[in-house]
Symmetry: C2
Amino acid sequence: MSQHSIRSRSATALLALIITSAAEAAPPPKKPPTTAAILEESKPTEWRALDPENTIYLELAGGRVVMELAPAFAPKHVANIKTLAREGYYDGLAFMRSQDNYVVQWGDPAGDAKEKQRPMKNGQAALKSEFDRAWSKDLSFTPLGNVDGYSPEGGFSSGFPAGRDLAKGRIWLAHCYAMLGAGRGDTADSGSGAELYVVIGNAPRHLDRNVTLVGRVVQGMELLSVLPRGTGALGFYEKPEQYVPIKSIKVAADVAESARVKLEVMRTESDSFKRLIAARRNRSEDWFLAKADYVELCNVPIPVRAAVPTAD
Amino acid sequence: MSQHSIRSRSATALLALIITSAAEAAPPPKKPPTTAAILEESKPTEWRALDPENTIYLELAGGRVVMELAPAFAPKHVANIKTLAREGYYDGLAFMRSQDNYVVQWGDPAGDAKEKQRPMKNGQAALKSEFDRAWSKDLSFTPLGNVDGYSPEGGFSSGFPAGRDLAKGRIWLAHCYAMLGAGRGDTADSGSGAELYVVIGNAPRHLDRNVTLVGRVVQGMELLSVLPRGTGALGFYEKPEQYVPIKSIKVAADVAESARVKLEVMRTESDSFKRLIAARRNRSEDWFLAKADYVELCNVPIPVRAAVPTAD
């Protein structure tokens, strides 16, 4: 039985999705590189440190969730989220929704009861939507190199999965796993970032260009993806005691440097990332017998690692 | 602030993925139907009851997970799983792996320690792989009607998402969310169904034709998808006390009728299901401002509902 035991080294290769470990041995010569090998061989310049001004820490009883904001795509929302974080608006709010294979979402438990709602000081309760933006060469764009059914051209821009329409000169972020979005009401301009959701299921790409995406969870997804599913419609919790409280949301720049998480994200315009896309298109690990010769936009991981200490 | 409050009826429409509820109002005339309207208008003959001989109940402390097996695609594995269930092989095994955005997996905690492994009576420890099978008109096939990057033709066969290659005369099940697969070791024929996994993340379609898929979770995914993520490599739990015990796995036909869950699955060859695909391609709910005009294979829900009582 041991040849297929779940704990054997061979069997654990079964469903490997190591994106930050260098545990796998380098591949034999002449084979295309594995994900692990690409990460190992990557150059320091192919990684960028998270910018503390565009990173937020969401603190739960279970630990910290680190999110990178995307000011190039949603500048008004990102500014508002930082304002709200800095005035303490989010502290004490709660996750009220956990819908299986879809999203977790937080907001003000006072909900529609206006008089009870948490007040905003400088933050805004509604903003112009930022569903997409003009394509500009100031943005980087690394094409996926495979068809993306949800956009004329799928790829990666400045560290985020994106769709692009060159004919119309537009670009937008894509609803992949771990993406962070600003809930809205019926009208386009009714979101603000006061209520945010994170994708925890199969990429709901039909939401692209219908909601403003503002960033991505880069560490701590495992704290959000396991929130008990709500039994109400759309995965809302039915009882207030089920709400999962948010201790605080802070801009990383406002946190003492010693208390920050030092993370680096692989530059999506780097050669290593381009090699990674190719490696995900056709897995070279021996375990894979059938090669897909295709990779879906949201199946390319954007690697994150602990910052490598420098000498200075 | 109420216009975007998370609890307002308008805002909760935000990310609707109701597949079994008829809570939404019927759409105004002349608009294409919503998912809810299609379900409401479907005919009784467009649903089929689960076959108790090909349904298994996985019992956890938190409740029951119902899985439909796919004997048309993996006859040997399905037969072996039923044999193993009937000889009590699974009872007392445990989930030992929960990898974020990927799979949960169970097996024998004794692992590689041969002398401690749970013995099999009539069950088999290794089987010929059933990664794909010959296409036959005896199978139903409802095309997705959109490009599927992972197969020449994506669609739905006998209630499961599938890829098809008519030129080669082959068809196979697709690794969508909630699909159930048989873990294997390095060789194609090293799996058996003794160790099974369920997809809990973005569809890992690169596994298609690399592992034998044996069925799908039709109820109780929310019990599996929230299992605490393992901190070991590949999401394995590092301590035995973290294992999530399986009370039992039984074939539904062996469970007293009064203790069975009566579920119906929408026939994927029905007109209503074809309408559902179209409705998911372009959402007609007012909330959607941008229409995708595309739907990814794994973004079409295969509806499940409580069986409608009949008069007899």
